[in-house]
């Protein structure tokens, strides 16, 4: 009984501490960070939004998406991103991966289906399809594909848009980023930026 009373006394002190710390950590801190972030880096703090012309914007109304967030682009005239397990695909309200394990028969079957489908669409041998085209990303919002997958799509994209392959290949090369500082991360192609540039070429 007495120990319960003692615990209660400490809990009251705990409650008062928690209230004070909540004002500091739960209100003042995020508000200060938001203020600094919006003042110094307003484009990034607002979600790195881009317009159809590839210009930076902080207005959702002018945006076609975020430079950081992958989006679906199914038609043959577009470069395709990786498979997405976020909701029905590319849904930022339901992010995540498939969570299928390395021995999952479902996953193996899905990979084989994707391999056949990509090979057929791009008109290449199934063995040529790179791994990132066959696997769902962790977030379901992966904005990148490997340079190999982007290059694989060049002939089909060029054909569908009535462009020369050479021209489209140059575009992919211009949008290929190497590892940051030469060793961090992986070589990659930003699909939205590439498609925005492609649309510019088409017009």
């Amino acid at each position: 009984m007495e120990s319960l009373f003692t615990l209660g006394r400490h809990a009251v002190a705990g409650l008062r501490t928690l209230v004070v710390l909540t004002l500091l950590l739960g209100l003042a801190y995020p508000l200060v960070v938001t203020g600094v972030a919006q003042a110094a880096f307003d484009w990034r703090a607002s979600g790195s939004l881009v317009t159809a012309d590839g210009e930076r914007t902080t207005s959702y109304d002018d945006a076609v998406g975020s430079a950081l967030i992958g989006q679906g682009s199914d038609g043959p005239e577009w470069f395709h991103p990786r498979p997405s397990a976020a909701g029905d695909g590319w849904d930022p309200l339901a992010t995540g991966g498939s969570n299928l394990g390395p021995e999952s028969p479902d996953l193996v079957a899905t990979i084989e289906e994707r391999r056949a489908a990509v090979a057929e669409e791009e008109g290449v041998a199934p063995a040529q399809v790179p791994a990132d085209a066959l696997t769902a990303s962790a977030s379901g919002l992966d904005p990148h594909v490997s340079p190999a997958y982007a290059m694989l799509q060049v002939p089909r994209v060029a054909r569908a848009n009535g462009l020369a392959e050479e021209e489209v290949r140059d575009l992919v090369e211009a949008h290929t980023d190497d590892r940051t500082l030469g060793f961090l991360g992986e070589p990659r192609v930003d699909v939205l930026a590439l498609n925005i540039a492609l649309a510019g070429l088409r017009d």
């Binding site: 002190a13 600094v36 972030a37 939004l49 992010t95 390395p102 791994a131 904005p143 940051t180």
Partner: protein, 554 residues
Amino acid sequence: MSSTLPALLQVAALGLLLALTVPPLARYLAHVYSSPRHLAGERLVYRLAGVDPGADQHWRTYLTSVLGFSLVGVLALYAFGRLQQHLPLSLGMSALPADGAFNTAVSFVTNTNWQWYSGEAALGHLMQMSGLTVQNFVSAAVGMAVAVALARGLARTSAEGRVGNFWVDLVRGVVRVLLPISVVGAVVLVALGVVQNFDAPHLVGTLADGSQSLTGGPVASQEVIKELGTNGGGFYNANSAHPFENPNALSNLFEIYLILLVPLAMALAFGRIVGDRRQGRAVLAVMSILLVASIGLLTWAEMAAPGSAPGAAGAAMEGKEVRFGEAGSALFAAATTGTSTGAVNAMHDSLTAPGGLVTLFNMLLGEIAPGGVGSGLYGMLMLAAVTVFLSGLMVGRTPEWLGKKIGQREMTLVALYVLATPAVVLVGAALAISLDAGLAGQQESGPHGLSEVLYAVASAGNNNGSAFAGLMTGTPFYNTLLGLCMLAGRFLPIVFVLALAGRFATQQRVPSGAGTLPTHKPLFVVLLTGVALVVVGLTFVPVLALAPIAEALQ
């Protein structure tokens, strides 16, 4: 897709960053927890809270303060979750269910940050920043406080069981350590692309004539303490794989750095607090050996891509992001499970079988390499006590550690500590695979299904919070079971640690003799590493053989 040289270079870059910053932070930490002076702002907090910062608490009082503060934290967060629909910035989210609110409240107060919910679909901004973010800070500071109390117990003599003042340790950990680093870190993250705003989801028309809801929020301010405090609860369901939480390879390296910074610095701070810096370096060496081994194994496993699905795809890219690749994902996975963080930048359920085994093993090790902020240090120190005791048995005398005798009462507390979390994990896992409600959640049958259950309970019991997320855990059964595992896995060990701190603080210091095992030499580093591996090995080999090992051999 990853190649070996860049993979090695990124580990080297991380090692360099840590080598440059851990020692000064350790010096600062030791100062923070031993300085007699209070800052003006801190005095104000003590006055508002009605606590006496001058009191030197007996270990029982210290424990009661820890429990009282944590109890209030659970109740407040539970109420927050149940009432969030009435609060500003709720984004139209409804109340969490009772079992879910209980699970989340316990999860964030115990520094586990297990997430049964999907952040973008279940929580309003105020719940995230004023409920969860606050516990991200204070649960980390509680862990640091308990570790410091144990170090003080070893450092003091004839102190009648007094181990310091919890409220002072808590407030200083927050105000002098976690908050300043977080403010700077949050701005760095925004500069790298992490969002920081209060926007509700906005529908935009996409380039290919579709539509997509973009989800803003106060993400950077939560992301930084999520890593720094080894918490791990993501703002979004995809956690640090989400481009708004972790936009590029630089932010990835920075977040891994934040995860490891304080746990490693606590080891060196320990040496300073007990007045022998070599002791801290020995603990740091053991942590580093285990951490480097797990980084190496995980990176090898993910790059070699063994298994059916990785083989079919040609690389282990399921559940990974192109910008991080296998190496950047493996390094994050090793850091997040070697500490009790549990943030993920790749879906652990889809790791290769040996890679998944390493993450599971890291958690079962008890989160000591380098472990959670504070909890990693006290976990490692308890195993150090086991090591000293075993060595004492070999030469047939009562062992002493830093001049403190490890007699029967001390060893009983250590043994209870060592048994507590494994008991929680094994009993919890046994329950989950014995009951229909537990089996119902498995996404896959066979060894991988068992791995999913074992991973969930191990994650909860060891306060990690990462998941093999194929397991459907948002059910009343799992919310309750895992909530109880988190509570027991956090507070039982804390009881034993503080009791031991009190015992040590009561003792005189005995001079070391010819039979004393020096606890700062390479021999001790080797022994302690061995003890850590043997203790967890003997406890968990049977279940590991049935789950990930069986899967790897398929």
